[in-house]
């Protein structure tokens, strides 16, 4: 049986170009459910979205990477020192009689030797909890507790940040803030971000892994997934007569289909996202059509996910 090593020496994945996290044939069988032969590759410095329906194995995967669970087979290689791996679970819990500052400082003290109040306050500020630093966390709402979990993760200057459903308890404004925060870490830190909210993942993840029933269905750039599994489609609105625009687009080699759907509206299918995005403005310009709007239709991760998983048992 291969060994599982959630915190191997950083020499296991040498060089700064190798993946931050890699798994090889990772299997954890809970009697038909779990994870099966998953080869994960998380590029260094990227935001990696791990998506899948409930029960797909996302939390099991993250738990094995963080050493909270053991794999039946396979190996995990993490090219980051253990002290610089930070984890924020979907439902963070803390001792309610500690203040927010103390909780984050405790997280810091367990991962970093140096005492640094500024780092603790900075993490609280980044999570939007600076004003609540001296409040006891027992009185925090679920959303505040989730932000506190994020502040704890940020306190130790992580090189790998693992966020399990970090927006599940947040209101829309809170979600946007957390997503923006995770996006800002791109380049400074590798972020693995699990979610079943595909719009969130599409918003910040440049790489995506799709898990279903414990198996990795797709892994790669988010953009490639949408290109590969969706026929890109746009709704065009033009002012005046639509006929010249319709003819110009139908004449393009990249255009699969162009239809007049309503007054002043055209629906255009292209061979690829890139071809459509470049070709539509040029085609409209060539015929002198006045474009009012150009809106992508169904070119989102959710549609790609559905297209990818529709034939998978």
């Amino acid at each position: 049986m291969a060994t599982t090593s959630p915190s191997p020496p950083s020499t296991s994945l040498p060089g700064s170009d190798g993946p931050a996290v890699a798994t090889f044939g990772l299997t954890r069988d809970y009697g038909g459910t779990g994870l099966f032969d998953v080869d994960l590759r998380v590029p260094r410095g990227r935001v990696y979205g791990l998506v899948g329906p409930n029960g797909a194995g996302k939390t099991t995967m993250l738990s094995i990477i963080t050493g909270m669970r053991h794999a039946d087979r396979g190996t995990v290689e993490v090219a980051v020192p253990r002290r610089r791996v930070a984890v924020c679970p979907d439902v963070p819990e803390f001792d309610g009689w500690l203040t927010a500052f103390e909780v984050v400082d405790l997280a810091r003290s367990l991962t970093a030797c140096r005492h640094d109040d500024a780092a603790v306050l900075g993490a609280l500020r980044a999570a939007g909890l600076a004003d609540s630093a001296s409040r006891r966390v027992g009185g925090f709402s679920r959303g505040m507790t989730q932000r506190l979990g994020l502040a704890c993760a940020l306190a130790g200057d992580p090189a790998l940040l693992i966020l399990d459903e970090p927006t599940s308890a947040l209101d829309p404004a809170g979600r946007a803030e957390v997503l923006a925060l995770a996006a800002r870490l791109r380049g400074r830190c590798t972020v693995i971000f699990s979610s079943h909210i595909l719009a969130d993942v599409q918003r910040i993840a440049d790489h995506v892994g799709i898990l279903r029933a414990g198996r990795m269905l797709y892994q790669g750039p988010t953009r490639d997934l949408i290109d590969t599994y969706l026929q890109p489609r746009w709704l065009l609105r033009v002012a005046g007569d639509v006929a010249p625009a319709l003819a110009a687009i139908r004449a393009q080699p990249w255009a699969i289909r162009a239809e007049h759907t309503a007054a002043g509206e055209l629906r255009v299918d292209a061979v690829s996202l890139d071809a459509g995005e470049r070709g539509i403005p040029a085609a409209l310009a060539s015929c002198g059509a006045r474009q009012v709007s150009c809106e992508p239709l169904a070119a989102d991760l959710e549609s790609a996910f559905l297209a990818l998983t529709k034939d998978t048992p």
Binding site: S63, T66, G67, M68, R69, H70, R82, R83, V85, A86, V87, P89, V91, P92, E93, F94, D95, W97, L98, T99, F101, E102, D105, L106, A107, R108, S109, L110, T111, H115, D117, S134, R135, R136, G138, G139, G149, C152, G156
Partner: protein, 262 residues
């Protein structure tokens, strides 16, 4: 909104796994509960021994019960019999609350993914809970000693100190059993149940003659026997067994908790 006041300009004290456990004791009712229960029995035990005849006279109906004139040993015995049960339960419940961090997944992830090793989490929990239990027991013993001296005559100081040592070593053992139980059960209630089951089973094993001198439970009644004809030398086997068992139980707890799956 509950806030913790800090003096203006004074930097907050740095947190650590050790400070976490100290705060768990002092910022929650745990330390007060421990101290109060032992102090209560320390003050109550000798008074009960002194006035037991009067109490019996007030409640008896028809049958006359004559109780031997109370001695210093009776005062301490009353304290030990009461504190060794209720006090022990409080010690175990408080320790179980600290050791069962795996009962809450979010807390477990927070601690386990940050600590370098399991001992970093277990050592402060063990040390602070054991120290608090010994401090509370010492407080109760000093109260019982003072009141016994006041009401029933002074017990021998050497015997009292030796008894204090035996009782303290047993409480440290009880905390070790709690740690080991927390590595078997995940929930606090189950951990308390297993610990009390083990601690209450030990005296039954002691009924078999030769084992008695070696069992940790022998130390519970040592403070009373030492005031009589026993000497500390009689308890050396039990002290040795208890110390070794405590170390083994802590090792077992650390290894099992380190290997535990989420």
């Amino acid at each position: 909104m509950t806030t913790v006041a800090t003096a203006p300009g004074r930097p907050p004290k740095p947190m650590s796994a050790w400070r976490l456990e100290r705060l768990r004791m002092t910022r929650t009712p745990r330390a007060i509960a421990l101290g109060a229960i032992y102090l209560f029995f320390g003050l109550l035990g000798p008074v009960t021994a002194k006035y037991l005849q009067d109490i019996v006279n007030r409640v008896q109906s028809g049958v006359q019960v004559i109780i031997a004139h109370p001695t210093a040993k009776d005062g301490i015995a009353n304290y030990i019999s009461q504190a060794s049960q209720t006090g022990l339960i409080v010690v175990v419940v408080i320790a179980a609350g600290a050791f069962t961090f795996d009962a809450r997944r979010g807390l477990s992830v927070f601690l386990r993914t940050r600590a370098d090793n399991m001992w970093q989490l277990i050592a402060p929990r063990f040390a602070v809970n054991a120290a608090a239990a010994v401090a509370a027991y010492t407080l109760g013993t000093l109260a019982a000693w003072y009141e016994t001296a006041l009401l029933l005559g002074s017990p021998p100081a050497g015997a009292m100190l030796a008894g204090l040592l035996c009782g303290s070593v047993f409480l440290v053992f009880a905390v070790s059993v709690t740690a080991a139980a927390a590595s078997v059960a995940r929930r606090t209630l189950a951990t308390v149940g297993i610990t009390l089951g083990v601690l209450l089973t030990l005296p039954i094993l002691g009924i078999a003659g030769p084992l008695h001198a070696w069992l940790p439970s022998t130390l519970v009644t040592a403070p009373v026997a030492l005031i009589g004809h026993s000497s500390l030398g009689d308890y050396l086997p039990a002290l040795a067994t208890t110390a070794i068992s405590s170390a083994l139980l802590l090792t077992m707890a650390t290894l099992r908790l380190a290997r535990r799956d989420e």
